[in-house]
Amino acid sequence: MTTTTASPHRTRRRVASVLYSALAVVIFIVSVFPVYWMVQTSFQPNSEIIGSDVNFWPEQFTLRNYETVFQASRAPFVPAFMNSLTITLLTVAIALVFAFLAALAVTRFRFKSRRAFILTILIVQMIPAEAVIVSMYRVLDSWSLLNTIAGLTIVYVATVLPFTIWTLRGFVNGVPVDLEEAAMIDGLSRIGAFWKITFPLLAPGLVATGVFGFIQAWNEFLLALVVNSRPEMMTLPVWLRTFLVATGTTNWAAIMAGSTLMSIPVIIFFLLVQRRMASGLVGGAVKG
């Protein structure tokens, strides 16, 4: 940061800087503690975590809970994981392509009902998903898409599309047409200009919007429960639910192990893209 400081200022600054750093550590702890708690609980035997004492560190370290969730006879982890991963990646990919094309249309072209389209995209986001589940179920049923990867993917694409278009629109707006046109003068075709000039500039935006699609599709629970009711087709949130039973015995340690496993891919994905994400977010948000 800046270094233009006089000496009385300097001590004040130093004190402030220590305070800020301390505050950052506190916020860090608050942010991370639940994650830590989940992970450390998952490494303890169930008999240790349900008891009058609380361990802050797995005293009897065990991998047993992970064995349990991997081998759970009613719902094994790996197929659910593969379903979730396939559906989520497909959703993100398809939604980005669709949204990208739509964002181009509304930012680069003038056409009738353009405003109506933008308004629709905004309003659609306000519909509570819980209300349309039965109707969605029937639509998928009429296409024989129940209990398929494709069915859930289509639903998720449609669910994340409005927000994705909304955000991407801001990004595409941010890239000036002049750049493209200059490239066209240099002999590139319209598509070529777009591909070579505009598209690379949009990368952070695509990443930022992709992340949202990823989180939404990865975490969605209610539709997945209803639409993919066959055990071999269930996704991770539904799989996690099989460990939560209202009566009988809840295996908290296994639930925490399951939760950890479910969170890891998202965290990895975040870490991979976070550098681009931060810059991307502004671009999308800025252009209302």
């Binding site: 800087s17 800020y20 750093s21 950052a24 550590v25 916020i27 860090f28 608050v30 942010s31 991370v32 639940p34 994650v35 609380v54 094309l101 739509a102 249309a105 072209f109 056409f111 405003r115 933008i118 905004l122 309003i123 306000m126 519909i127 509570p128 998903a129 819980e130 349309v132 039965v134 109707s135 969605m136 639509v139 289509i154 639903v155 449609a158 599309l161 801001g170 990004f171 707006n173 941010g174 890239v175 990865w218 975490n219 209610l222 949130p237 996690l240 639930i255 925490m256 939760s259 969170s263 965290i267 976070q274 994400m277 810059s279 977010l281 671009g283 948000a285 800025v286 252009k287 209302g288």
Partner: protein, 329 residues
């Protein structure tokens, strides 16, 4: 992360490393050259329109139709559904529970949005004051919280606040010597919403903080320094410089928070399975679920959903109007 870019604010965009400096920070009010595209824009919209038509509009249309019908479980299995006009709407609007849920949702949403925005902004401002090490540390923490799926987050928080075996009661009792043994955090509605709010805010602050931080990095440093030399305090600098600069960022983020928080479902639904009194803790999303899938009264559920959308439209009216105005440019 690098130090804030001294932005070339006048140019619409500039590429600095991999950072895309967007034009909106200092909104350029120039007319965007938009082409008449003939058939092309429609072609570009086709995939989106097909997807939305099939999965969003068609079910939405059915929802609206159902909201005017007597539509229960028997109708799901093929019984004819008689039209009942506005009966469902009348029944919902006359139901004190609906108004209680509505009031609760709005109040909860307001608190959530205010707290989230405030906390997010403060964290973002804090990030600009940190050295690289602490900034990365803080970012990693926020990132982890953000990446945690809502369902697992709620389960974990619920577990931490567990009446008998939760770490919170344990720490309050054994650490601070308070009597929190066997204290139920979910049984009192206010306390329930405190926990629910904690889960939601905890998960939402990172998004707000990152977004605003990214915006802050683009506020020209020299303007802030000049203001400081003129004797403007921190608060004044925020009010007079930063806020106007980031107005549109704040607006978008706030609107998104309002939409998301008013519809909040997963966290409340999952917490209600752990404890608490459903009737006193249901918010709009959960209430719609209970009234359609839960009790099989799809007609009523549909009416509630339609009313909710209308309500959301009403409160985001100003924003929508601004969008429309901008689109006229």
């Amino acid at each position: 992360m690098t130090a804030p870019v001294s932005t070339i604010a006048s140019a619409p965009t500039a590429v600095d490393g991999e950072r895309l400096v967007t034009p909106g920070v200092q909104p350029p009010r120039f007319k965007r050259p938009r082409r008449r595209g003939g058939f092309t824009p429609y072609a570009l919209l086709v995939p989106t329109l097909i997807a939305l038509a099939a999965i969003t509009f068609w079910p939405l249309l059915q929802l609206i139709i159902i909201s005017f019908q007597e539509f229960g479980r028997a109708q799901v299995f093929g019984a004819p559904a008689p039209f009942v006009g506005f009966d469902n709407y009348a029944a919902v609007l006359a139901d004190p529970t609906y108004w209680a849920v509505m009031g609760r949702s709005v109040a909860f949403c307001v608190v959530l949005v205010v707290v989230t925005m405030l906390a997010g902004t403060l964290v973002a401002l804090l990030m600009t004051r940190l050295n690289a090490f602490f900034r990365v540390l803080l970012s990693v923490g926020l990132l982890l919280a953000w990446a945690m799926p809502a369902l697992t987050a709620t389960i974990v928080w619920g577990w931490m606040f567990d009446t008998s075996y939760g770490v919170v009661n344990f720490m309050l009792t054994n650490g601070l010597g308070l009597d929190f043994a066997q204290h139920s955090w979910l049984v009192e509605p206010l306390s329930f919403f405190f926990v629910a709010g904690l889960v939601i805010v905890w998960g939402a602050v990172p998004f707000v903080a990152f977004t605003i931080y990214a915006g802050l990095t683009q506020v020209p440093e020299e303007v802030l320094e000049a203001a400081q030399l003129d004797g403007a305090g921190a608060f004044q600098r925020f009010r007079l410089i930063i806020f106007p600069y980031l107005r549109s960022v704040f607006l978008v983020v706030t609107i998104l928070q309002v939409i998301w928080d008013l519809k909040v479902f997963t966290q409340i639904f999952a917490l209600q399975n752990i404890g608490g009194v459903r009737e006193l803790t249901s918010t709009l999303g959960v209430y719609i679920y209970q009234n359609s899938l839960g009790t099989g009264e799809y007609g009523t559920g549909g009416a509630i959903a339609v009313l909710t959308v209308i309500f959301m439209l009403a409160i985001s009216f100003l924003y929508v109007r601004q969008v429309v105005k901008e689109e006229e440019l």
